[in-house]
């Protein structure tokens, strides 16, 4: 059912929840400052389109469902996201498929577009339109389409996004959704069939795999401060390779990454904690932080406030907490049409 949602977020946690629809399993904010992001999601008949604008650098683990293909497009002039250690260059598009897991990170305020479509759909249209078979890529692949068709695809995406941002009801019309979807497929197939395809070098793919396994290991014991020797043994890699992989894929070393993950865990626990029954030290200790003084200073550098301030803010009564826990919705319009009943219900 075609529809669109435009959301503005002031909390990373809420953004993370919304990004789950875009395949992101976990989000780690890596830069200091006030979190701010805007996400526009457009659902067509079979295709989905998303556009985001983010203020802070962050890392997300993205899992592509086995039956879907994810296409990432650069948007605007600013720095593009880095997928699996490779930056999505200007004029390039990247594809991910076949149940792939990969880290997507940004290192500055960033804007990106993505298109999701069922793999079978793409394969079918590709062969109908080109007479050739499209092999769903099992690894991240980036494409350099001809400038004209690449531009056309980008413009079409941006135009559709700005249309739904300014007029949330444009997609209620099924014909409009079909038209947009067909044109996106047309442009996408042309980009993929005429563009130059490049696959990440084997070393990079190896690093992607190590970073994803490392992430899985961390998530298995999120609250424990793991020793690197343990990690290397579990993953069967040398400390050097682990460090190189993490630097490339996550933009920081493994120890730093693990520490930040735990720090974020503390932050979230403090946000949802109650100052009357819990204390900062208890929460920090639970996540493996000793030395409370240094912890508070590090925390302050990351989140711009003392841990105690977060806890107080979090427990300042039920109602504001609830409001904080939700995306601040500027404009949210998911239009659901029940054709049979002939009723149109707009849910907010």
């Amino acid at each position: 059912m075609p529809g669109s949602v435009v959301s503005v977020f002031s909390e990373a946690e809420d953004f993370e929840v919304a990004l789950r629809a875009e395949g992101a399993l976990r989000l780690l904010v890596t830069g200091p400052g006030r979190f701010k992001a805007r996400l526009t999601q457009v659902a067509l008949h079979r295709l989905r389109l998303a556009a985001a604008e983010e203020q802070l650098p962050r890392i997300a683990l993205v899992a592509v469902p086995t039956d879907m293909i994810l296409v990432s497009l650069p948007r605007g002039r600013g720095p593009a996201p880095i997928w699996g250690g490779v930056r999505n260059g200007a004029g390039e598009i990247m594809t991910f498929g076949a149940g792939q897991r990969v880290h997507m990170r940004t290192d500055a305020p960033c804007r990106w577009n993505s298109v999701w479509l069922p793999a079978t759909e793409l394969v079918q249209y590709y062969s109908a339109m080109t007479g050739a078979i499209f092999a769903v890529p099992t690894a991240a692949r980036w494409w350099q389409p001809g400038p004209a068709i690449g531009r056309h695809l980008r413009h079409l995406c941006s135009a559709a996004i700005s249309a739904v941002e300014s007029r949330s009801k444009v997609l209620i019309d099924a014909e409009a959704a079909r038209g947009l979807e067909q044109q996106l497929i047309d442009a996408l197939v042309e980009c993929l069939s005429t563009g130059l395809a490049i696959e990440a070098p084997p070393a990079t793919r190896e690093h992607q795999h190590i970073a994803v396994s490392f992430e899985a290991l961390l998530q298995a014991q999120p609250e424990r401060a793991l020793r690197m020797a343990e990690v290397c043994a579990a993953l069967g890699v040398s400390p050097r390779i682990l460090r190189i992989s993490c630097k490339e894929q996550l933009g920081m070393g493994p120890i730093e990454y693990a520490r930040r993950q735990r720090m974020q865990l503390v932050h979230r626990a403090l946000r949802s904690g109650n100052a009357d029954i819990t204390s900062v030290s208890a929460i920090a200790r639970r996540s493996g932080f000793r030395g409370l003084g240094r912890f508070a200073a590090n925390y302050c550098a990351l989140f711009g406030e003392l841990p105690s301030a977060t806890l107080r803010r979090g427990s300042a009564g039920g109602v504001p907490k609830l409001a904080l826990g939700r995306p601040r919705i500027r404009l949210l319009m998911a239009a659901l049409t029940w054709i049979n009943a002939g009723v149109m219900i707009a849910t907010v």
Partner: protein, 315 residues
């Protein structure tokens, strides 16, 4: 009762819907003031039309069954292409019943048509020349003997002149009968002798792909069409479709479908009221998402902005 009418049109849709015996979807391809003249002459059994247009255009024509129809150009020059085949003033197209085809005029065109009920055509063919003039199974382009063709052109032109200058003569039953007899004789002698041109394009257009493409256009008269769906339903790749369309339409299928969407959007803008619709609604419904670009292309094609079309009251 014989009659005649001369009409001048400034709107391609009105013009196309006034052309008889055929359902035509017409798209003007160049900016400018469209003007077309249609002269209709109905004798007793014979119907005739003389048509002229001032702008390049492309049309999808579906001929209604029941009448045996022929068309030809009224002056020489590459002014009309029928299914990609050029029509000269020296040749005639014998249409088949229920035919559907693309007719393209890359420049201002003047052409005309004549038709008789199928049974009348068959009987006059047999009576006058001992010919079987049943409409062919496939459209046929033939080049008659020059003198016969010149005579038909002259008579047809004279009838057109009469409709303009002295329509009362045409509406006189006896005069009309005389004219009708002379025209039928000229027509039969054109169809009887001369050589049929086995046109390559006419043959080639029988290819499955184009038949399906035409059918898709015919089956969705008011609906937008896009390349991916079309490739899937026709079973042809974009490349094959491009080659076929280039030959028949003189443009890529993408361009054709875009022009078609433009014209559909224009029709929707004209038919909707200012209060109920916005230009954006119409644009997105017909697949235009880059609004600035849509307005620009619209203006360069139709000479006015989309909002002006929406504002203009429907005459």
């Amino acid at each position: 009762m014989p009659s005649s009418a001369v009409q001048i049109f400034s709107d391609p849709d009105d013009y196309a819907s006034s052309i008889r015996a055929t359902t035509i979807e017409m798209m003007v391809m160049e900016r400018g003031r469209f003007t077309a003249k249609l002269t209709r002459i109905d004798l007793h059994r014979l119907w005739m039309q003389r048509l002229s247009e001032n702008l390049p255009r492309i049309a999808h024509a579906a001929i209604r069954p029941g009448r045996a129809i022929i068309t030809f150009c009224t002056y020489s020059g590459p002014s009309l292409l029928w299914s990609g085949a050029e029509l000269q003033a020296s040749s005639i197209v014998r249409h088949c019943e229920g035919e559907n085809a693309f007719q393209r005029a890359p420049a201002p065109a003047s052409w005309c048509g004549m038709s008789l009920p199928v049974e009348d055509m068959v009987s006059v063919g047999a009576a006058i020349a001992g010919l079987d003039l049943t409409p062919p199974i496939d459209p046929l382009i033939l080049t008659p003997v020059p003198s016969a063709m010149a005579k038909l052109q002259r008579l047809h032109g004279a009838a057109g002149q009469l409709a303009e200058d002295a329509p009362e003569i045409i509406s006189h039953p006896e005069a009309a009968r005389g004219l009708e007899q002379a025209l039928i004789e000229a027509l039969v002698s054109c169809l009887g002798e001369g050589e049929a041109r086995e046109d390559r394009s006419v043959q080639r257009r029988h290819s499955l792909i184009l038949r399906r493409f035409r059918r898709a256009v015919e089956e969705h008269p008011d609906q937008t069409l896009y390349i991916p769906e079309l490739c899937t339903s026709i079973g042809a790749t974009g490349r094959t479709l491009r080659a076929c369309c280039q030959e028949q339409l003189g443009m890529s299928p993408k361009r054709y479908l875009l022009l078609r969407r433009m014209h559909l959007a224009r029709r929707a803008l004209r038919e909707s009221s200012l209060t109920a619709t916005t230009v954006t609604d119409v644009a997105t419904q017909y697949g235009f998402w880059e609004f600035g670009r849509f307005a620009g292309e619209y203006k360069s094609l139709f000479g006015e902005s989309p909002s002006a079309t929406l504002r203009r009251p429907w005459e």
